[in-house]
């Protein structure tokens, strides 16, 4: 199930943070699942959580020793996205740069 070509690129910095979270949770065996779920008034939003339940259609890739799982429905919406982590004076956290998301609705909670 582990594939060679990642749908979402994970930077080294993000992988380090994910590894720290996995250790914090005491779940070194889990993967970070990134998915796109219906949200907002008409679009989608991202979800990220640790998961160890995979199905055959999932894409599971590995970057710097941390696994990322993406379901088949989310895959086309996440193709080419980059997951990074930044820690700046303004904010600290994960960032997703997704080339597939270029419009949002007025509520600013969803994208298409």
């Amino acid at each position: 199930m582990v594939q060679e070509t990642p749908i979402v690129q994970v930077t080294k910095t993000a992988a380090e943070k994910i590894a720290a979270l996995l250790l914090s949770e005491g779940t070194p065996d889990m993967a970070l699942r990134v998915s796109v779920a219906p949200g907002g008034c008409s679009g989608f939003r991202y979800e990220m959580y640790f998961d160890s339940d995979f199905v055959e259609s999932d894409s599971v890739t590995e970057s710097y020793g941390v696994r990322v799982a993406i379901d088949a429905t989310s895959a086309p919406l996440l193709a080419g996205a980059v997951l990074d982590y930044a820690d700046t004076l303004n904010a600290a956290g994960f960032k997703i740069e997704n080339p597939n998301a270029n419009r949002t609705c007025g509520c600013q909670k969803s994208f298409s």
Binding site: E16, A20, G40, F50, G65, A91, E97, T104, Q108, K109
Partner: protein, 248 residues
């Protein structure tokens, strides 16, 4: 098994309106104390979108969102350690490392790291130190110590053992030492390791025992060695701890 929701992200516009969901709160002030996820709010002059004629919004090049996660808390205790200067990891182990070797090698290779595994079944920590002294460890490499399972929990000399091992590792190399379990947690080793962090700043203790205690299914019938799933989990733990130490 699905672990709690750790992050919820959407495009930048969402950041100004945190969404409440399982495990999330709206009050940013609660984020750190309750270790939950909160979408961070961009600065006031942050204009990520431009309105279009139809009322929708076109994102700019800043097609990103910042999601704050509970970080800075990992079961790697100790003061800030030196950051490894090269991408090279040395693992010193016993039979538990022997049976996890292939996983460790794969994780390191796929990450672009050199890995040097020196593991022998039945090895005690003292024998591991002897082996360590013979290894050619590149300066700046990260050294992982996965020993202790074959030691007596009543050893009065843990401090001397730890001191000797630390002295055998090149200056500037971070050391990650796993807590150990042999039918029960080796508490004396864990205690000695935590005390040792006070005078060995580059020592990090990785609490593998706390993970094991939630996963008794990873033990094989002898309650010492691991099942195939346990071997892989052990390798992932070792690798993740080493990777964090190696990247700082």
């Amino acid at each position: 098994m699905r672990k709690r929701l750790i992050a919820l992200a959407c495009l930048a516009g969402c950041a100004a309106q945190p969404t409440t969901r399982q495990g999330l709160v709206e009050d940013p002030s609660l984020a750190r104390t309750q270790a939950v996820t909160v979408l961070s709010v961009p600065p006031p002059d942050f204009v990520p979108f431009e309105p279009l004629d139809d009322g929708s919004i076109e994102s700019t090049s800043t097609n990103r969102v910042v999601v704050e996660l509970p970080g800075n808390t990992i079961p790697l205790s100790g003061v800030p350690q030196p950051v490894a200067t090269i991408e090279h990891v040395v693992v010193l182990g016993d039979s538990l490392t022997v049976t996890s070797r292939k996983h460790l090698q794969r994780l390191a290779e796929k990450s672009g790291y050199e890995i040097q595994i020196d593991a022998v079944s039945g090895r005690k920590t003292s024998a591991g130190i002897s082996a360590l002294k013979k290894l050619e460890i590149p300066v700046g490499a990260t050294v992982v110590v996965a020993l202790g399972t074959n030691d007596s929990n009543d050893s009065p000399n843990y401090r001397a053992t730890i001191d000797e091992l630390m002295a055998s590792v090149p200056t500037g190399s971070p050391v990650v030492w796993l807590t150990s379990y042999r039918k029960k947690p080796l508490d004396n080793l864990a205690r000695a390791l935590r005390e040792a962090q006070l005078y060995h700043p580059r020592l990090t203790v990785a609490d593998w025992v706390s993970v094991l205690e939630s996963h008794k299914e990873w033990f094989s019938s002898d309650n010492v060695h691991y099942t195939p799933a346990g071997n892989e989990a052990f390798a992932r733990f070792v690798w993740q701890a080493a990777f964090i130490a190696a990247t700082g």
